[in-house]
């Protein structure tokens, strides 16, 4: 296959960026999208031009590092996968493909397609955990959890923190990301003690980071590579309101 790429190039955080056109030639349909970029980059290096910088690591859809906005969609045209799992057989010979970084105030561009997602880490640091020290625990089976509850907590916990939800949202809201963690821990008995404090602190942190508000368009869930459902946002809202009421009663 032969394709035309239009790629966002930006030297660093303080420089202006622009779209640059590159041909991608002799591409095999068996290649992954990132392997296609590898081929283009090898060609650029051979010509003495600087290769396109992009984040990637595991290349099997689980580390959450790859983050390309392809033809106007995070992780490209297919449902339920990351950029590294997208294969070129999903495109046609002669296609023009536009590739941009995630766009959000809270995710500043570092270089080309690489953005800074450390805001997500700071949200988790604000309470996305159970405060339990190593070694001071009880036998695992002393905490029975109904299978359907455990399964639903698992569905939320599959979030890979890639940021596609933010990139997909017209408000650049991080509510789906936040809800995945809040929902997981709100469902499980282990998360009960810190339930109220957790949601309040995490919401505060999200607002401080400059993410937008949620207007329930559902684009986040539609584009989430792990297909985390919007109902987790509903649970997050309920958790937040309940926490606010109980903390104002104190």
């Amino acid at each position: 296959m032969n394709l035309t790429l239009k790629v966002w190039r930006q030297k660093d955080a303080s420089s202006a960026g622009k779209m640059v056109t590159y041909p991608a030639q002799n591409i095999s349909p068996d290649m992954s999208f990132l392997e296609m970029i590898d081929v283009v980059n090898e060609g650029l290096v051979k010509k003495g031009e600087e290769p396109i910088a992009f984040d990637h690591d595991c290349r099997e859809g689980i580390c959450g590092m790859c983050s390309m906005f392809i033809n106007g969609r995070p992780h490209g045209p297919k449902q339920g996968i990351t950029t590294c799992q997208l294969h070129m057989r999903s495109f046609k010979d002669g296609d023009t493909i536009s590739i941009e970084p995630w766009r959000a105030k809270a995710f500043p561009v570092v270089k080309d397609l690489v953005v800074d997602r450390s805001a997500f880490d700071r949200i988790i640091q604000a309470g996305g955990y159970v405060s339990v020290n190593t070694g001071v625990t009880i036998d695992a089976n002393a905490i029975p959890i109904a299978k359907d509850i455990a399964d639903e907590a698992f569905d939320a916990a599959t979030c890979i923190g890639c940021g596609a939800c933010v990139a997909a949202c017209k408000n650049a809201s991080a509510m789906l990301f936040l809800s995945a963690k809040v929902s997981q821990l709100a469902l499980l008995p282990q998360g009960q003690v810190e339930r109220d404090k957790r949601v309040e602190r995490m919401i505060d942190q999200m607002e401080d980071e400059g993410f937008g508000s949620c207007t329930n368009t559902g684009a986040c869930s539609a584009e989430c590579p792990k297909e985390i459902g919007q109902h987790h946002i509903a649970r997050l809202n309920r958790e937040f309101i309940t926490a606010k009421i109980s903390s104002s009663n104190k």
Partner: protein, 637 residues
């Protein structure tokens, strides 16, 4: 230098308890005066950083990814072993110990493995307390499944994403310590050298991958939790960034490297499709619980699998190993797949694949039950190959997955450099010559949560808690060496890309130091790697500057280290005139083609000492003593 493994005295089952009591302690008020550096934030690193922070130490943690949550532990699929005996099927700490020693083909330390089995039960408790959503049964209790090399069900799992869930648990514990100010996190920062002062590890040199700034960090102890070196083969199941640089730099500063040639080739990966391939994707070993491995009986049979009748198929694992069947350990399964392909019975376009067939299980359990167990794995296979594994058998082939070798450590996980520790896959200690499935997660977390928090105090208590003197000239000298090396890489301006060198190295390693090795091939590989190294430093082309995000430069430094490591792996493989576990020397096999150990001459850990540029590495031997298990020819028949 004499290797001292510091294995405690006493009966096997009491060694760890006794040792814990005998270890020196650091006064709680003094802990905050000690700085500890943790490099890598996978299961071992995140667990160690969090646990040491909880104890009160000042921790600095480093990772090259943009977030500690992305370390490659995240990709582990199948599960984690623990001797809970929740199935009532005869499991025990001793059985997990025994299976692991046997699975490792008797090339691991008994005492370490027993400790691993002992703390395995605590790991599950810890993870559940953190909110890790393990698979459960309808009664609300934890579910288990079987894994290769064991005849009990002791593997805990979270669908096909166990590594992810365990890592996110450790990451959450780490995040909590960052929030409390006990851990300072440095993401997108790569360790490029170790600072050794008066023979003790006292800091590291790092490069900020965004700005290129070269910095030094001091500490009273340094923990390398930097994973394995499978990417020396170019194609592996490792992440693109997984590398040996931190461990290799430490090796060149005096840390011995243990059993470098012990690499694990995982039997169930998606086959290679072409030269463009950048990585190989694993299909969890758990699939062998319900999938049947087969090839056509006749060589060159190119019919579609559905057209090959039952009596013309060879379910070779079930045929050769009736008691373990499809659940033989990884080294055995891989070697057999290779053998079938060598006989011309491989399937698919390349002929380098065997079938993993679920038709019988789907018939027996129904498609929905199979989907519930393996849905995400089947989807992954479908995405990559474009084929539907519910309708036709998967095609699989072995791929490099894990490295049992690593920095040599004593029972306390300390390397031969005092103050420098290695945890998880980065050390050599627990898996011998072959790792059993679901044991890597167990070891990473055991080292990080339950071993290092005890053993590190024994060292720190012997050194003064005053701050490390960062004006010591060695800090500036180490920094200068790193800067000079980077400038050299940038100034060569040759004609070949870093990827081309990496691919070439990978081909040499796979061909001559992969699933099967022999003296002639290894000697040839040695020459090839040496000339590749010389060529690299004359002709590599790295564009751009240091003072920017420069992914070519990052990679160049890593590939340069892989080339040097590759040479040592070949030397180690040449030295070991026997076959054991994943190290299969063609000259040493039984009549039935199984690995033939030589316990008289090779029942030791090969620990290699670096002695200088272009000087031969010196071999030190740690004799392995087996006081509890009897060394036998491993049999899974």
């Amino acid at each position: 230098m004499k290797l001292d493994s510091k294995i405690p005295d006493g009966p096997l089952a009491e060694k760890w308890s006794r040792h814990k009591f005998n270890l020196k302690l650091v006064n709680p008020a003094n802990k905050r005066k000690y700085d500890v550096i943790v490099v890598g934030t996978g299961l071992a690193g995140a667990a160690a950083a969090a646990s040491l922070g909880e104890l009160g130490y000042n921790v600095k943690a480093f990772c090259f990814q943009d977030s500690p949550r992305r370390a490659h532990s995240i990709a582990a699929q199948g599960g984690i072993n623990a001797a809970k005996n929740y199935r009532n099927d005869g499991d025990s700490v001793y059985r997990l110990f025994y299976d692991t020693v046997k699975g490792g083909d008797y090339r691991a330390r008994e005492a370490n493995v027993y400790r691993l089995a002992e703390v395995s039960v605590n790991i599950i408790d810890q993870c559940v307390a953190q909110g890790v959503p393990f698979a459960r049964e309808y009664g609300g209790l934890l579910d288990n499944r079987s894994f290769g090399g064991a005849q009990v069900s002791r593997t805990f799992y979270a669908r096909g994403q166990t590594g992810q869930q365990l890592l996110l648990g450790a990451y959450s514990a780490l995040s909590r310590m960052v929030d409390e100010g006990k851990v300072k996190m440095y993401a997108r920062t790569e360790m490029l050298d170790l600072v050794v002062i008066d023979g003790h590890a006292r800091g590291i040199v790092t490069r900020d991958l965004v700005t290129g700034a070269i910095e030094t960090h001091s500490a009273h102890a340094v923990l390398l939790c930097t994973g394995g070196y499978g990417n020396v083969f170019y194609l592996s199941t490792n992440a693109q960034g997984s590398n040996v640089t931190a461990a290799w730099r430490a090796h060149k500063k005096g840390a011995f490297f243990g059993n470098p040639c012990f690499t694990q080739i995982h039997p169930t990966c998606i086959p290679v499709t072409g030269d463009h391939q950048s990585k190989l994707t694993l299909m969890s070993e758990s699939l062998r619980n319900d999938g049947r491995v087969w090839v056509p009986k006749a060589a060159g049979d190119k019919r579609h699998p559905s057209e090959i009748p039952e009596n013309e198929r060879d379910y070779f694992l079930e045929r050769k190993y009736p008691s373990f069947g499809n659940l033989v350990p990884r080294d055995v399964a891989s070697r057999n797949a290779k053998e079938m392909c060598d006989e011309g019975r491989g399937v698919g376009q390349s002929g380098l694949a065997v079938y993993l067939d679920f038709a019988d299980s789907i018939k027996r359990l129904g498609e929905n039950a199979v989907r519930a167990k393996y849905g995400n794995l089947f989807d992954m296979y479908h995405q990559i190959t474009g084929e539907n594994p519910y309708k036709e058998p998967m095609r699989i082939y072995p791929a490099v997955h894990y490295t049992m070798g690593g920095l040599w450590v004593d029972y306390n996980l300390m390397t031969t450099i005092p103050g420098l520790y290695a945890l998880g896959e980065a050390n050599f200690s627990d898996h011998g010559a072959n790792r059993l499935g679901a044991s890597a997660l167990m070891q990473g977390l055991a080292d990080g949560y339950f071993v290092i928090p005890y053993t590190i105090g024994d060292y720190l208590a012997t050194i003064c808690p005053k701050p490390v003197d960062t004006t010591h000239p060695e800090f500036a000298a180490a920094k200068k060496r790193v800067e000079d090396r980077i400038q050299t890489l940038l100034s060569i301006k040759g004609t070949k890309t870093v990827t081309e060198y990496h691919r070439e190295l990978g081909k040499i390693m796979w061909e001559y130091c992969g699933m099967a090795r022999n003296e002639e091939g290894l000697k040839k590989a040695l020459e090839m790697i040496r000339s590749l190294k010389a060529d690299f430093w004359k002709n590599v082309n790295v564009l751009g500057t240091n003072e920017e995000l420069n992914q070519q430069l990052e990679r160049a430094g890593r590939v340069a280290d892989f080339i040097e490591l590759g040479e040592l792996m070949v030397i180690d493989a040449l030295n070991r005139d026997e076959s054991c576990g994943g190290h299969f020397r063609e000259e040493f096999q039984t009549e039935e083609g199984e690995a033939k150990r030589n316990d008289t001459d090779f029942c030791y850990v090969a620990a290699w000492e670096y002695t200088g540029e272009n000087q031969p590495e010196v071999l030190h031997k740690e004799e392995l003593k087996f006081e509890n298990v009897k060394l036998t020819q491993r049999s899974y028949k």
